[in-house]
């Protein structure tokens, strides 16, 4: 009983609720999925077993790694595009906007869509990018196009656009925070020592904001990697991502064992990425310390 003190009880009580939550709704479901992944598909449904056939199938059948590769490609594109848009925007907010009211207004403008339903935000892009959508009508009206183009919707382009729009707040937030924390006198010191503004950006601001960039990239990549709504709504015949395959294994194919094995693979990939990003961030801190 050493170390047990009555006055710790309230603390334990406060901690136990989230702990019970995590065990009940995260840990146990993961265990169930892990168990299912060794089961066997057998008409009409599936039966308990312990075998590695589902994992073997994932690596033997090209359809699964094709989809994994495509998912990785789309997640990378979304991450890169988000970074390209979010970094200059956050930089502009932190270093160029003088009025703090304008700054928080612009910041909120990016964050506010998070309060709108995901489905609605994805759906909206259909009406913008469609063959008879807003963008096509505009391009035809201005004479840039002679006829509406099919190239805007139901392909990987529309998926990347939609996903970037949806997940960009997760890139802006950590970068904004990282930039805001950079002491201004460091930037001024760089100027005093004869470094050009671009040099200061490259040698001072960018390295100091890297933890924010890494955090934002991790968020955006992992969220996109597991997405299945955008492919359904704005994706075309070449837009199936790994989460869609998992959905169809749990649904149409009624192959929960294979679906579970895929979910485990997806989970491992995401965990590896999070671990890598964590190491990168720690390495960074030491390097600058």
């Amino acid at each position: 009983m050493k170390g047990f003190r009555l006055d710790r009880l309230p603390g334990l009580a406060v901690l136990s609720a989230p702990l019970v939550w995590a065990v009940l709704f995260l840990f146990i479901p993961y265990l169930i999925i892990f168990t299912y992944s060794f089961w066997l598909k057998k008409y009409p449904t599936f039966i308990p077993a312990f075998q590695f056939g589902n994992y073997a199938q994932i690596f033997a059948d090209p359809q699964y790694y094709q989809v994994l590769l495509r998912t990785g490609k789309i997640a990378l594109m979304v991450t890169a595009l988000s970074l390209l848009l979010a970094y200059p925007f956050a930089y502009f907010l932190v270093f160029k906007v003088k009025s703090s009211r304008v700054r928080s207004l612009l910041y909120m403008a990016v964050i506010a869509p998070l309060w709108v339903s995901y489905l609605l935000r994805a759906y909206i892009w259909k009406t913008i990018l469609g063959s008879e959508g807003v963008l096509n009508s505009f391009l035809v009206w201005t004479g840039i196009l002679s006829a509406p183009t099919d190239l805007l919707l139901y392909n990987q382009f529309s998926m990347v656009v939609t996903l970037t729009y949806i997940f960009i707040p997760f890139m802006v937030m950590p970068i904004f925070t990282a930039l805001e924390k950079i002491p201004r006198n460091l930037v001024e010191a760089a100027g005093d020592l004869g470094v050009t503004p671009w040099g200061a950006l490259a040698k001072v601001i960018w390295p100091l904001s890297l933890p924010g960039v890494i955090a934002g990239a991790t968020f955006t990549f992992c969220l996109t990697f597991g997405d299945f709504i955008a492919p359904m709504l704005v994706g075309g015949p070449d837009g199936v991502m790994i989460a869609n395959v998992i959905t169809s294994q749990y649904g149409a194919a009624l192959n929960w064992p294979l679906g579970s094995a895929l979910a485990v693979v997806l989970l491992i990939i995401v965990l590896i990425i999070i671990e890598l990003s964590d190491r990168l961030q720690r390495k960074d801190r030491i390097g600058l310390g």
Binding site: Y43, T45, Q63, Q66, V67, S131, V240, V245, S248
Partner: protein, 351 residues
Amino acid sequence: MKNTFVRKISTALVTLGLVAGPALADGQVNILTWEGYADASFIKQFETESGCKVSATYVGSNDDFAPKLAAGGNVYDIITPSLDTTYTMVDAGFVEPLDTSKITEWNNIYEKFRKSAGINKDGVTYGMPYAWGAIAFMYRVDKFPTPPTSIADLWNEQYKGKVSLWDDKSAIYVAARLEGNTNIYELNDAQIEQAKQKLIAQKPLIRKYWATAGELVDLYVAGEVWISNTWAGYQSAQIKAKGIDVKEFIPKENAEGWLDSWMIVKDTPNKDCVYKFLNMQSSELGQCGVANVNGYSAANPVAAKKCMKPEQYDALHQDDPAYLDSLMLWRNLGERLEAYTNAWNAVKAAN
């Protein structure tokens, strides 16, 4: 102190049970079905007359029934799978035998349907035939100066980016027929592979695979799609109602036929309402309800004759069930189902 707490909780639970109990027992029926099968136009009347509250959840494909039932939880009381899926429901133990003596109109339903292999196992009946029709094809009249007559038109480069196909294993049936394999329910691995390659070759022409009835309607209305397959009678009427002129056709490679049956989910607590509901659906109200809302043919010609105009009765082939024989009636694929769905998934996964 602990005991009083437990006692309080149990009292609360019992009270809740007493309060909630009668409310539930007052009658409800939860159905997992196709869009239109629980349309307000005829369900409202049933609810008032029977005192049974109907709540419906919709599926987009026959492959949605098993996963929803396998998830358990006694959420649904009755389901309406098609003839390719009914037997799987029986085999998987998801449904219970039907007491046909409780269905007044039972003997008026086409005998061929009542006796069909998909809903009978070891002399026991598990389903009540309800509606039937064809998986026809459909095109936009203004975009086709010469009306299409073949499945090959869905592979025509000319309509690149304007083609759609149902996101369902039946895509394999379509491609197999185009390859000249008419034994679409008994394809061997090589023939399935052939169909798969055919579908992969078609992918650049596909605008989007449609997943629900409503999605295809939206695709036509938004000008995205000009030609596709369709649940004959249903989507074309909705698209026309929105001002786009479409026409259905049975291609020279023929079309599949389907028959939907009501099946009772095992151990449903709402049997009273379930049988009231089945009686309504097999009578004039339900039979003409589905014919008017979905444009499908009725399984009970006696009831249909009473509530349909002769033209409608004729148009729906009600006096000619041999029409259904001319179609390729869906069949249970049994253990081969996996090969078909796997091939279809591979098509969707392909680059």
